[in-house]
Symmetry: C2
Subunit: 333 residues, 2 copies
């Protein structure tokens, strides 16, 4: 296979390398989201699954398994499992956040209703669960069960820490592990386990997924304040308006004097926001270097992801995964 790495983004390179398995994943997903009597299920699911997601999580499972020399096809089932879990959480997230747009399209809760999003999400969780039982690996089931609990606990934690300026960096880390990193690390770890990799390799691929997911989510939270709506699909300041306590806010609040603390209390805790408040928040970020240190933290986690892979034997997929860690933070200024 010839692969011009300079011209190709890492997730595109992954898609090329993993093309046969990824096609099998897509076929399996279409097959398993069908429902003879409840056509609402494939309608809602297709709306989301075919909306141009990058299939990043299933590719992580496939890549981990294939770089460990796996030649069977159970990794396809696990990859589809991971995508179903991801899609189910998106459906429920959009209900919880009362979102109206995702990936540039209206959300399912808007097109159908909250009921459909809740119940179809539950259906996808159940289908994920059926799929992950099929390979017959209790260890993989343990990994995915634990990841599901971390994800759900992180979501509830996020609900109760929202608008709370006392949120610590440790709690923020737990929230983003639940929101993003737990599924990334379960994806890579379960790929290694199904391939029968040794313990050091399983651990390395878990650590890679965990660090990659954390870097990815910190970058996402930072881009909410400095991104471009055209490339991120989000408007600058969405998190600010929704009073989310992400890392830039935590850093700015930690460095705040009494006047600044009062400002954060008003806009985030009380939710009293007016014209100019987002600009003032940006000025406070600049004064305390909150965006710059947040970027550095994201870069540090990306470096940890690369370091986790370093001891593994050379493999083209190892190179692409390492590039992927750089790529998720490369969009940051």
């Amino acid at each position: 296979m010839s692969l011009d790495q300079h011209a190709t983004k890492p997730h595109e390179a992954l898609a090329v390398w993993l093309a046969p398995a990824l096609t099998a994943v897509d076929t399996l997903i279409r097959d398993r989201m069908a429902s003879e009597h409840a056509p609402r299920i494939p309608e809602v699911t297709a709306h989301l699954i075919e909306a141009g997601g990058k299939r990043l999580r299933p590719m992580l499972t496939l890549a981990a398994a294939e770089m460990c020399g796996y030649t069977g096809d159970d990794h396809v089932k696990l990859a589809a499992t991971v995508e179903f879990i991801h899609t189910a959480t998106l459906l429920h997230d959009d209900v919880v956040d009362e979102s109206h747009q995702r990936r540039g399209r209206p959300t399912a809760n808007l097109l159908w209703d909250n009921k459909s999003s809740v119940l179809v999400g539950d259906y996808l969780f159940a289908r994920a669960f059926q799929l992950m039982v099929e390979p017959g690996s209790l260890r993989v089931l343990d990994i995915l069960a634990n990841a599901s609990a971390v994800i759900a606990e992180g979501e509830v934690l996020q609900l109760t820490t929202a608008q709370n300026l006392a949120t610590s960096e440790a709690i923020y880390l737990q929230v983003i592990r639940g929101k993003t990193a737990a599924l990334f690390s379960a994806a890579t770890e379960s790929g290694a386990v199904i391939a029968g990799a040794d313990e050091a390799t399983v651990r390395a691929l878990f650590d890679y997924g965990d660090a990659l997911g954390i870097a990815f989510q910190i970058a996402d939270d930072l881009l909410d304040y400095q991104g471009d709506a055209k490339t991120t699909g989000k408007n600058v300041g969405d998190d600010f308006r929704e009073r989310k306590v992400t890392l830039p806010v935590i850093r700015a609040v930690a460095a705040a004097d009494a006047t600044e603390r009062a400002f954060w209390g008003r806009v985030i805790e009380k939710g009293e926001q007016g014209e100019g408040d987002l600009d003032h928040a940006m000025a406070l970020f600049a004064r305390h270097g909150a965006l710059a240190t947040t970027r550095q933290t994201a870069l540090d986690w990306a470096a940890r992801a690369r370091a986790a892979l370093a001891p593994l034997p050379d493999h083209p997929l190892k190179t692409i995964l390492s590039d992927l860690a750089d790529y998720v933070v490369a969009r940051l200024r």
Copy 2:
């Protein structure tokens, strides 16, 4: 153990017989619904779990295992699993139905918010999943995974058949299998499997749970039209006002002339309901014997549940389970 069967209701007799295991289930549930950082989780869960539910589903698992001679403690984990799945579905149901009361208390979506009900429900599903992996039985996992899918598909199906007078008895049966019977039969089947019972016994206990659940749900749907709010906790006609197409309506519509068909179209499909419409519906039920034949169908399913148990060896729990099948339809007139 002395047990005066004439003075004790079957679910109370089950609770007495299974007391040590049931105490272990309660302890395990309290332990596993804890969350160090997200106190909202045990708050919401305790509100529902401690609200005086009868623990019917976990008792079915314990009873099936113990009457098959099981002496280990994995059945306690499966019983807690089943109660967690049940509680999670109640949380999501109350969001979907926009309910304000359950078991005579305000619902979680009213006390907290829909977000908490959705996410805490997800957390309970994840905890259920962790618990069911622990006994290490792939066959039990398969049973519970399949039941989860039937439950979720039934819920979505109910959503899309609501207000649809074309709903057939076959579709109605699929909905109530998802809503109620799938978890009953998974409870009894998984209890038999964990006990290492032979195939005929596993099948008999599955069939018992399935028929019991169907009898239970048909009875519930019938009581919506003839129950007493004091004993059922529901107001007569709730399903009518919510335009649900349950068995009495299906039977009345099947026997309707053109005028009656127009009435059903107006009140159920169009949702145009006024004073006297519920009384008129009751008169149509009486004209066509719709409540009487619905009651007979519930009795038939209760008889099927008893018949499923018949080939099993004598055991005090077998007698109580058989009585339970009578009991769920005994409230019907």
